[in-house]
């Protein structure tokens, strides 16, 4: 009886993994098919739609990087009379506030909000909501303090808002400090797969491109009607993505609107960041899965993609469970072990080539970016994948603990930015 149950569970898991695998194959093939098509580039010259834009930059102890992004904001090609930049100094204990004040003195469109340690909400969403109160423009843009954008990124992002059904637009994120060490190089590869293939394909197929929490724009009125950012969710970006879709709007992804980020520099920082993402995603899965299924605003393909996206951080956990079950089945049914082995092939295949951005996605993304040599590092992603299994399990355990015992373990482990990316900026 138990063996039968294990078999059924194992088959369900295998089917689930295969679904993810097929989904990623479709994504990769879609981008590859569309690679030759050239979309007309949005440039400063051919931009006619120029709404007013408020840019929110939350910053807590970012003295190493805040000057870089503010300098870049002053270099943007978008008309300055249509720009408002709001920096939320989130109870910084270093010189972040002073640096921002200096810029605010010299540039009238830069405003700084200082939050005291009492006001500090401990999550990014809280700082963003504080900034949103001062935003007066039609479009709200968000950047993290460690980002460094193209000079014409605003033109490229806001161009999509010509379509009234577009609620939010996400730009591409590229790792700035990539050559620094093995962690930054592997994170850069993940980003290539995630943005160049995953996001691009979802946009092309009319599925659900995801807001990445930074380098994105959203209609202010829509954001306000949704009640701003949800401060109880660690992945406030994923949460916002689904709230935008459930409200009947869509999200677009613009691959040409590029922005540099400073990636985490060591395994410990990677652990903290991914653990936060995993917990946040799982919170979103609990919050939105049923709503997505019931929604009248979403087509069936969007519902399927939405559910797969929401539950992606559960997959690494299910993978190790599948491994255990396959071993149990192997020993409990010796005469049919060959069948069990054959069943594990798709599972093992996903396990070895699958991550949140599977290896073939990363490889294709790097190839399309003209970086074939970067593909040489792809086998090392298996270590990140194994690391992610542990991270997601820990995140899930934490969430369960907080649910069962009512213990508050949802805390925002902020990524520390050292400013190491400064040396890679071309001047």
């Amino acid at each position: 009886m138990i063996t039968k149950l294990l078999e059924v569970f194992f088959l369900i898991l295998t089917a689930l993994m295969t679904t993810y695998l097929i989904r990623h194959f479709i994504f990769t093939l879609t981008v590859l098919k569309n690679a030759q098509k050239r979309k007309k580039a949005v440039t400063v010259e051919n931009t006619t739609y120029q709404p007013t834009v408020s840019t929110l930059i939350p910053a807590r102890n970012e003295e190493q990087v805040i000057g870089r992004i503010l300098q870049r904001m002053t270099e943007l090609t978008y008309p300055k009379d249509k720009m408002q930049i709001i920096v939320i100094d989130d109870a910084s204990t270093d010189d972040t506030g002073k640096i921002v004040e200096e810029y605010a003195k010299n540039y009238s469109y830069i405003k700084v909000i200082h939050r005291t340690s009492k006001e500090w909400g401990k999550v990014k969403a809280s700082a963003l909501n504080a900034g949103l109160k001062y935003a007066k423009s039609e479009i709200v843009l968000c950047f993290d303090a460690d980002y460094y954008s193209q000079a014409d990124i605003i033109e490229k992002l806001v161009a999509e808002f010509v379509d009234p059904k577009v609620g939010a637009v996400q730009g591409r994120v590229t790792v700035l400090n990539e050559p620094q060490n093995i962690v930054t190089r592997l994170v850069a590869l993940e980003r290539v797969g995630g943005y160049r293939i995953d996001q691009q394909a979802r946009d092309s197929l009319g599925l659900i491109p995801q807001l990445g929490g930074t380098a994105f724009a959203i209609r202010r009125k829509l954001l306000e009607s949704l009640g701003g950012w949800d401060e109880s969710i660690l992945a406030e970006d994923t949460d916002l993505t689904f709230r935008v879709y459930l409200a009947g709007y869509k999200v677009r992804y613009v691959n040409d609107a590029e922005c540099y980020e400073e990636a985490v520099e060591n395994w410990r920082a990677y652990w903290k960041q991914r653990c936060r993402w995993a917990k946040g995603h799982m919170q979103c899965a609990f919050k939105h899965s049923l709503k997505v299924l019931k929604s009248n605003n979403l087509l069936l393909k969007k519902k399927i993609d939405g559910l797969l996206l929401l539950n992606v951080y559960f997959m690494p956990i299910l993978i190790w469970i599948s491994w255990i079950i396959s071993v149990l089945l192997f020993f409990s049914k010796p005469p049919q072990w060959l069948n069990a082995l054959l069943t594990t092939i798709p599972l093992s295949f996903y396990s070895f080539v699958g991550n949140f951005a599977p290896f073939f996605e990363v490889g294709m993304g790097a190839y399309l970016d003209g970086r074939t040599r970067a593909c040489w590092l792809i086998p090392l992603l298996i270590f990140m994948f194994l690391y992610n299994i542990v991270i997601c399990t820990k995140a899930f355990t934490d969430l369960l603990t907080s649910k069962i015992f009512g213990k508050h373990t949802i805390t925002w482990d902020k990524t520390v930015h050292s400013g190491s990316g400064n040396s890679y900026i071309m001047k």
Binding site: V65, R185, A374, L377, M426, K427
Partner: protein, 90 residues
């Protein structure tokens, strides 16, 4: 029926797996030891500026935040000068 593996088969299998793993990671080790990848990928407008200026190599800049903290007057002077210059990116 598959016959039970002999010790020779097992040794060959283990040896084969080790060689496979070595070959799989060899390119990655080579790239880590002597990186030839051009990363980080330059964002498009920076590529255009570089092509115009015919600058090929990356030039590390001084830490901007250090300057801001220690000598605000110099920063102000530079900012005033920059404000007067035409924007080359438009």
């Amino acid at each position: 029926m598959i016959p039970p593996p002999t010790s020779t088969t097992l040794i060959t299998l283990c040896f084969g797996v080790l060689i496979f793993i070595f070959i799989m990671f060899l390119p990655a080790l080579l790239e880590l030891k002597k990186p030839k990848d051009a990363g980080p990928r330059m964002i498009l407008n920076d590529v255009a500026v570089l092509q115009q200026l015919q600058i090929v190599q990356k030039i590390p800049i001084a830490n901007m935040e250090e300057d801001l903290r220690f000598d605000q007057t110099v920063v102000k002077k530079i900012a005033n000068v920059i404000a007067m210059l035409p924007n080359l990116e438009t």
